[in-house]
């Protein structure tokens, strides 16, 4: 970083509003050449809007973008790429049926002959240690490998600024380390990196500077190396952070949920099949299930809550009763409540009121039905109770679920299930896309329910969350579940290997092999 040079990118007083929201309010910050700069903020803080304007997908209402000190108008992404701005999105835009090479060719602005392109791709890959066979079909690649295609695609343009939007949410810990090596090498060569994330330890490990956004405004620009994760989190949410209160050394009760040899064919073309899954959860225990997205987490939740019914009654045993052949309603009546990962359209109906959403899962357990007719008063009272107990920000029981922010809706859904006093609660990605404040509330509620004697299964991609919550941990990979490990015996290294698909082998020797394979 040479202080005499103008900043690579400077954003001055940028504002952008959408109907009803001021997404960016006079945002200013600068990225120096060769700097890894973090944009840190909760969901809805305005990070995505800001980078969309830098990448030319949207235009600011006011303010200026300067590139190497010169004011520029980035009219569209092609203009951004011409300036030397590359972007790797959180969700990939790849054609499953095409090869790596074909996918990259499709994304190029300039027409380059295939052979020439392939040579260039191999060059880039070699420079940055990104191994990938250009002729592999995308559908056969892991998520980490797919991300590598997007990175290669961006690097082919010799970017001088690379924007990475939440790049690690789909990676195993080992893959994250490899990605960071690539990014550090790029920075050393002078490429600036704008790194968007809310994962604080990653920002501490990787970034030189962090700009913190809250409610569309810049609240601070800091050096993450000298801050603690906690101080950054507090700046991000604008309030003090509460620790999870978890009584140490609790005793567990009897087995509330036993899963024995649960197998299930995959749903549809891309569904993951479950293979011989076995585990048990005792009263008061929190059982964590880690894994990279798309390894059967959703299928497991559906099989547990009866949305998909198998042939073996004994595969799911709830409080001593074999319920494997029962449907969702019957299982819920027995005390099994679940929270699926997708909030809109699965856990809740966006255009229904919160009271109607209470009817969706609570009607039978909470007496909201008398001879086929709904008792709307009971549903409204219960909804009011959820709203006040879990401090959900909503205009009332009549507000539509879709009008709530992600975090508030998640609090509502968690509250709806927890206040039904389930014997067993299965939750998937409980704090996915939820801000830190709401996540803390949800975590505490899960622990409190366990302390009160429920058996809880938490399925999550967030290892930090699982390590903080779980008493026992297992890893799901391609529809298989690893052996449960008591939380005290867990090593991150071992978890990472299990997430990558190495089952039951000694952790040390395959570590090297695994790295060699993946990189």
């Amino acid at each position: 970083m040479d202080a005499s040079l103008p900043p690579r990118l400077e954003v001055v007083g940028i504002s952008k509003s959408f109907p009803g929201v001021l997404a960016n309010d006079h945002v200013s910050f600068a990225v120096q050449p060769g700097e890894i700069h973090a944009l840190l903020g909760e969901n809805g803080a305005g990070k995505s809007t800001l980078v969309k304007m830098i990448y030319g997908i949207m235009q600011p209402d006011a303010g200026e973008i300067r590139w190497d000190g010169q004011p520029v108008v980035v009219a569209h992404p092609r203009a951004a790429r011409r300036l030397g701005i590359g972007m790797v999105f959180q969700h990939f835009s790849l054609f499953e049926a095409l090869t790596v090479l074909e996918n990259i060719a499709l994304g190029m602005d300039a027409k380059i002959p295939q052979r020439e392109l392939e040579t260039k791709i191999r060059e880039v890959m070699q420079t940055y240690g990104l191994t990938l066979d250009p002729h592999r079909i995308v559908s056969t690649l892991s998520v980490g490998e797919r991300q590598r295609i997007e990175i290669v695609r961006a690097l082919l343009l010799d970017p001088r600024l690379l924007i990475m939007d939440e790049p690690t949410s789909v990676l195993t810990p080992q893959e994250v380390d490899q990605l960071f090596d690539v990014l550090r090498q790029l920075a050393k060569e002078g490429c600036s990196i704008l790194y968007i994330s809310h994962k604080l330890h990653e920002i501490k490990a990787l970034c030189d500077t962090a700009t913190i956004l809250r409610g569309g405004r810049v609240v601070d620009t800091i050096d993450p190396k000298v801050e603690t994760s906690r101080s950054m989190a507090e700046k991000m949410i604008g309030a003090g952070l509460k620790d999870i209160q978890k009584p140490a050394g609790r005793a567990f009760g009897g087995e509330k949920l036993v899963v024995k040899g649960l197998s299930m064919p995959g749903e549809g073309h891309f569904g993951v099949a479950l293979k011989d899954i076995s585990f048990s959860v005792r009263a008061g225990e929190i059982f964590g299930i880690a894994g990279v997205a798309g390894n059967g987490q959703n299928a497991l939740l559906l099989a547990l809550d009866g949305e998909v019914i198998g042939h073996d009654a004994g595969a799911v045993i709830l409080d001593g009763e074999a319920v494997g052949r029962e449907n969702a309603k019957q299982r819920r009546l027995r005390g099994l409540c679940t929270v699926p990962e997708e909030r809109n359209g699965h856990a809740a109906v966006a255009d229904f009121s919160l009271a109607d959403n209470a009817v969706l899962t609570g009607r039978d357990r909470l007496g909201m039905v008398i001879s086929g007719m709904l008792r709307s008063g009971v549903a409204r009272d219960f909804t009011g109770k959820v709203i006040s107990t879990f401090s959900v920000k909503a205009t009332g029981a009549g507000a539509t679920a879709g009008s709530l922010s992600g975090g508030n809706l998640q609090k509502y859904i968690m509250g709806r299930e927890i206040l039904q006093n389930p014997k067993v609660l299965v939750v998937s990605q409980p704090t996915w896309g939820v801000d830190a404040g709401a996540a803390a509330t949800i975590h505490q509620a899960i622990v409190d329910l366990a302390v009160a004697g429920s058996a809880i299964v938490v399925i999550s991609q967030d290892l930090d969350e699982l390590l903080a919550l779980s008493d026992t941990l297992a890893v799901i990979n391609t529809g298989r579940l690893s052996k449960p490990i008591p939380i005290g015996d867990v090593s991150i290294q071992e978890l990472g290997l299990l997430m990558g698909g190495v089952h039951g082998e000694a952790p040390t020797p395959p570590a090297e092999k695994e790295l060699a394979d993946v990189v």
């Binding site: 969309k52 949207m58 972007m87 899962t361 086929g372 709904l374 709307s376 009008s403």
Partner: protein, 368 residues
């Protein structure tokens, strides 16, 4: 300066109710223009089709009689459409319901007693429900698209009717006309308003519409229908079976179409002839949407469409408008309704500066 469609933060309730009214008004305006262009008295046509039946008090009874089957079928379709289950074959279910009831009628030609009419009505409901059960079965067992199967079964039903009416069920005393024998006194729906043609079926229709409204808004059944239509996955999560909902929707809408069919046999038609199918089953699709898939709205929409039926006939005699013209008006209504429905979720806005072009290779991402 250009017009831009902008998503509303919440669907507009005003537009939800204004758009059917707007659709009817735009239909009148565009209808007047079209018929003027092709050489008819356009304003006169609109007057005859939309206003005259209302302005002429002796036509009210005609409107009520035409509205009854439209409302009955429309309410059934509204329930299915709410669940995003598309029964396009109500016309066939209407015909088969009429045939099933008329079959009982043939068997009881020489019998007397108050039990005959209820039995025919029951047969009508079951007939329609069975015809509706076929697409439901195909959908739930083989995942056959119900839109296509229900539509095609309509033509099967009409051919079945043609066969029966020209063959085995032809009235032996009917001078070889292709029609069934007239219904007997015990097979006829009583007139409830003396001096008019308004029969008991009209009253039953209104009661059913109100009951269905109560069920849709207050019962678990209505909740199931709504949640299956809005978010099928959430419905599954809530313990509602999609297959069961498909069956319910088809049995209900089929049964109601069948009921409408037998009401016509025991009421205005008094028999089944080749001209028996009046397109009520298809027009009821318009009724269901114009009524916002709400049974009470369907009552109003049924009356509006019934007016166009009666008015179409009046325009035919007054202005020599072709019979197809009422179909044009009805179709325009659905078309304009669907078009204006975009304003429920979007609003029009004038923007000064042209929005930046978004490169096609980089799909836009959703905002955080």
């Amino acid at each position: 300066m250009k017009l831009k469609l902008e998503k509303r933060p919440e669907p507009s309730r005003l537009m939800l109710y204004a758009s059917p009214v707007g659709a009817v008004i735009v239909t009148m305006i565009v209808g007047a223009i079209i018929f003027s262009i092709i050489g008819y008295d356009g304003l006169g046509a609109v007057y005859q089709v939309f206003i005259a039946p209302v302005a002429t008090s002796y036509k009210w009874s005609d409107v009520a009689i035409k509205a009854s089957p439209l409302i009955l079928i429309g309410v059934g379709l509204a329930v299915g459409n709410r669940a995003a289950i598309w029964n396009i074959g109500a016309e066939g279910q209407y015909v088969v319901g009429a045939l099933a009831g008329a079959g009982i009628g043939l068997l009881t030609q020489n019998a007397t007693g108050p039990w005959i009419l209820p039995l025919m009505i029951l047969a009508g409901i079951i007939g329609g429900a069975i015809w509706g059960a076929i697409p439901a079965w195909l959908r739930t067992s083989f995942n056959v698209n119900e839109t296509l199967s229900s539509l095609m079964l309509t033509y099967v039903a009409i051919h079945l009717m043609n066969y029966l009416v020209t063959g085995p069920w032809k009235d032996p005393t009917g001078f070889s006309f292709p029609q069934t024998p007239l219904v007997t006194a015990d097979q006829t729906l009583p007139i409830i308003i003396p001096g008019t043609q308004i029969h008991l079926g009209v009253a039953i229709t209104l009661v059913i519409a109100v009951v269905m409204w109560l069920l849709m808004t207050r019962s678990v059944f209505g909740f199931q229908i709504r949640v299956v239509g809005s978010a099928p996955q959430a419905a599954r999560h809530g313990g509602f079976s999609h297959k069961q909902t498909v069956w319910l929707a088809f049995l209900l809408s089929g049964g109601m179409a069948g009921l409408a069919g037998i009401f016509e046999v025991c009421g205005p038609f008094s028999q089944i002839s080749l001209g028996f199918p009046q397109n009520y089953g298809f027009t009821a699709i318009i009724v269901a949407f114009l009524g916002r898939l709400n049974p009470l709205g369907v009552i109003l929409a049924g009356i509006v469409l019934a007016i166009t039926y009666v008015g179409g006939d009046m325009a035919q005699s007054a202005l020599q408008l072709p019979n197809a013209s009422k179909g044009i008006f009805q179709a325009m209504m659905l078309f304009f309704l669907l078009a204006s429905d975009i304003l429920v979720r979007y609003r029009l806005r004038l923007v000064r500066r042209a929005p930046a072009a978004v490169s096609a290779t980089v799909p836009e991402r959703s905002a955080a």
